[in-house]
């Protein structure tokens, strides 16, 4: 869910607040409250499924070990529904069971989209009106990463999920440098093209390559540009943690499912409107909304929760 909210589709962002029931048919005490647990087929049943492999030959002992592991994960009772040998030394298991854990929605903070979602026309208008020149965007896959799917989806005119990429926006000048671009070359190109924003995509996460590449990239930019003139640095990829922008030294992180329109709208927010805007209130607003949603259901939520083991 966190990935979905980071990409900021309003309907999805609201889901965790209303819970899996979606708010219908909830006239009785079953309305989800601030305390939630998984839903199998009955409110409060806490049912989950897990699957995993143990490095054991398939026998009674391995099955007992699987159940024991599930119990340690909070599943009680844990029901072993499938066990299959994978070669002589491994066994694959599927288990169902009820978890005793509860989630208190009051403790959850959701970063909501801090910018308004604009149409292509609005984006172009905003750039034309306020920036009075083209907004220059440079994109690349850096380091060893050769997966251009992400950057291409955002930049190429072809786009993603039915939305045209940034190349489609008349008021943007987009330069997609492609895969395996060396960081010095990226910095050089950004300078040469006078980039307003630099988008990099990182898909490969083996040995935390995405983190290393990103921090190396941001450090290189901060070294190469005088303070205050560093292009807006944006990194995207399916495995970045929300809220890790500061740690990575970039201005914004985009996660799985981000669409070109979101990036375009964000760029307008950050680079075109930013100077004339008061500091951002959006995250606070989101928190308030989560709280009030929680408060409204407190009583009934407790009832549901108290049915549990604790």
């Amino acid at each position: 869910m966190s990935a979905a909210t980071s990409t900021g589709r309003p309907t999805k962002a609201d889901e965790p607040v209303t819970g899996p029931h979606g708010g219908q048919t909830l006239e009785t005490e079953t309305l989800p409250g601030p305390l939630v647990r998984p839903y199998g087929d009955t409110t409060g049943d806490g049912m989950v499924q897990v699957s995993f492999t143990l490095p054991l030959p398939h026998d009674k002992r391995a099955e007992a070990a699987a159940v024991r592991l599930a119990q340690a994960m909070g599943m009680d009772p844990a029901l072993l529904v499938h066990a299959k040998a994978v070669g002589p030394d491994f066994t694959f298991f599927i288990l169902y069971g009820s978890v005793r854990h509860l989630v208190d929605l009051r403790e959850i903070e959701v970063a909501e989209r801090e910018y308004e979602l604009l149409s292509a026309k609005e984006v172009n208008q905003a750039i034309r009106k306020h920036l009075r020149r083209k907004l220059v965007v440079v994109g690349a896959c850096i380091g060893t990463d050769a997966h251009t799917v992400g950057i291409d989806a955002i930049l190429n005119i072809k786009g993603f999920a039915g939305e045209k990429g940034l190349e489609y926006y008349r008021e943007m000048s987009v330069h997609n440098l492609g895969a395996q671009v060396l960081i010095p070359d990226l910095v050089e190109s950004a300078k040469e093209l006078k980039a307003d924003a630099v988008l990099i995509s990182q898909v490969v996460t083996q040995r935390d390559a995405h983190i290393h590449n990103t921090t190396a990239m941001s450090a290189a930019f901060r070294e190469a540009f005088p303070e205050g003139q560093v292009p807006h640095l944006i990194v995207g990829g399916p495995r970045f943690e929300e809220g890790s922008a500061a740690a990575l030294g970039v201005d914004r992180v985009f996660g799985r499912g981000t669409t070109p329109a979101e990036v375009a709208s964000y760029l307008v927010h950050a680079l075109v409107h930013a100077p004339e805007r008061a500091p951002d209130h959006a995250p606070e607003r989101a928190r308030d909304r989560a709280r009030s949603a929680g408060r409204g259901r407190t009583a009934r939520g407790r009832t549901a929760g108290s049915k549990g083991k604790k």
């Binding site: 070669g87 050769a146 251009t148 190429n156 072809k158």
Partner: protein
């Protein structure tokens, strides 16, 4: 169909002429590798790089690296190739281009050295044939192709062996993503790679030896695959031949379009590497799946066909036979599109009908794998079904955890169960599946072929101001995958040079004539 092939030939031939007139540092290094030069200095710079660079700095490579090198050996500068490379690296060797009588002797010597490498490749091919005769081919087609990619060769080996025991017929060791842009081949057994394992001669040897053991254990010859792509395509091809790899990924335009490697470098390297593959009895796998992951799979369907036709032309020109052409295509149509399965069938059937004797390589969905592993498992089942119904030769097994994690042991096991179920339940459908001429499948196939012919016509009539071959001009204009790759740009351009009159390369001679001495 005939028209499509004629056009592919027209588009390809000027590029082949260009490739004949040029050589690259990697072709020259591959030649030295065939002559037995291997290893690297303490900083892991291979001796072939040292020697080629030294010759280039001294007398240039326009006459080929072998002339100045064997001239130096003939003059007694060093007792053997390795010593010469070491001396050259230290900067103590002066090279020259031998003339007349001396040149004849030098040519004979270098040819005899390179021929030893070629004979090793020939011997490895015979070994493969012998092992296949002993252990047997997979009992059915498509052959099941599985990927291993841990980054650590010692971890790859047990994984590959386990995959073979679970039913894989072909093991592909994915390369570290950085490797295609390295202008040297790393040395030794490597344990550090990103999203894959470095292709090195020692890694090839270790994995092939392990799979030979497993082949014996299973009574089925397990094939090994790696990648002849990137800047060192010719060298990797040579190493693959020497170490008896069985399949190599080798696409005529992939490096240009998706790695921004200079087009001329790519076509020169590609031709040499394919000549080696032809000699070594290696099946090439082409990378048409990439066109579909970067563009819409319905709109771009004909670009796959065009690429297959060009790949076929370049492959046959380099001496490969039909059974060695693992032409690629992939199941990448948006599953939310109505009739998406029928369209997939149409595209797969078109490839089958266009290339009836080639072992087509059928590749699974990646672009529309969303992380919903349950839906992904179903999609992979449909992918397998298309493979079964259209008689594909090589089936790359799809993972439900595509785009989520590098495959777990259990993912691979579940994926193989999926393949087995579909093949057992529906493998025979290839006999029954003859869609009617006026149905959607056949109509769509004809439409794609028609669009492919149009695109080829457009390519052949392409002109640019500097008089490049039409195909290069088309590539420069962004005809493929909307990426513009002009022939004067791209990585590895500085390693390309025009051959001088009197250029000599015994490897190319031996490969083109089929001679062994």
């Amino acid at each position: 169909m005939r028209r499509a092939r004629t056009l592919a030939r027209q588009a390809g031939r000027p590029v082949v002429d260009l490739a004949r007139n040029h050589s690259t540092v990697s072709v020259e290094r591959a030649t030295l590798r065939l002559a037995g030069l291997s290893g690297a200095d303490h900083e892991n710079v291979p001796w072939v790089n040292h020697l080629v660079d030294a010759v280039r700095a001294d007398v240039g490579l326009e006459h080929g690296v072998t002339m100045p090198v064997w001239d130096a050996l003939e003059r007694g500068v060093a007792s053997d190739l390795l010593t010469l490379a070491q001396k050259a690296a230290a900067g103590g060797v002066g090279f020259r281009i031998p003339q007349k009588g001396a040149a004849t002797t030098v040519r004979r010597r270098s040819r005899s050295a390179v021929a030893r490498g070629i004979r090793t490749i020939d011997a490895q091919r015979r070994n493969r044939e012998r092992l296949i005769a002993r252990h047997g081919n997979p009992p059915r087609t498509p052959w099941i192709y599985l990927i291993v990619a841990t980054g650590d060769i010692l971890e790859d080996i047990p994984q590959a062996q386990a995959a073979a025991r679970e039913g894989a017929d072909v093991i592909a060791v994915i390369r570290s993503t950085g490797q295609s842009l390295l202008d040297f081949v790393p040395e030794g057994a490597t344990r550090e790679g990103y999203a894959g394992t470095y292709a090195t001669q020692e890694n090839f040897r270790l994995m092939r030896a392990a799979l030979d053991e497993t082949s014996k254990e299973l009574g089925r010859y397990i094939r090994l695959t790696n990648y002849a792509s990137g800047l060192c395509m010719p060298e990797i091809a040579a190493l693959a031949g020497l170490e008896r790899l069985d399949m190599m990924l080798n696409d005529s335009m992939y490096g240009i379009l998706f790695r921004d490697i200079n087009p001329i470098r790519t076509f020169v390297d590609q031709r040499f590497s394919r000549q080696v593959h032809a000699r070594a009895g290696i099946i090439i796998n082409t990378g048409e799946d990439n066109y579909l992951t970067t563009a819409d799979a319905v709109e771009a369907a004909h670009t796959v066909t065009v690429s297959q036709l060009l790949n076929e032309y370049f492959a046959k020109e380099a001496g490969l036979e039909d059974w060695q052409l693992g032409l690629g295509h992939a199941f990448e149509i948006d599953p939310s599109l109505k009739d998406s399965f029928r369209l997939e069938l149409a595209h797969a059937l078109l490839a089958r009908q266009l290339f009836p004797d080639a072992p087509l390589k059928w590749m699974p969905p990646t672009k529309h794998m969303t992380g919903d592993i349950f839906r992904g498992y179903l999609l992979d089942g449909f992918f397998n079904l298309v493979g079964a119904m259209t008689g594909q030769g090589i089936l790359l097994v799809g993972m439900m955890t595509e785009a989520v994690v590098t495959p777990w042991l259990s993912d691979r096991d579940l994926a193989l169960q999926n393949v087995r179920y579909v093949m057992d339940a529906a493998g025979g459908l290839v006999e029954d599946f003859h869609p009617p001429r006026d149905g959607l499948v056949q109509t769509r196939a004809r439409q794609v072929l028609h669009e492919a012919v149009n695109l080829l016509e457009q390519i052949v009539s392409h002109r640019d101001s500097s008089g490049h071959p039409p195909l290069l001009a088309a590539i420069a204009d962004g005809t493929f995958g909307a990426m513009k790759r002009p022939p004067e740009k791209g990585k590895g351009l500085d390693g390309v040079f025009r051959k001088a009159p009197g250029y000599d390369n015994p490897a190319i001679e031996l490969l083109e004539t089929g001679a062994t001495r």
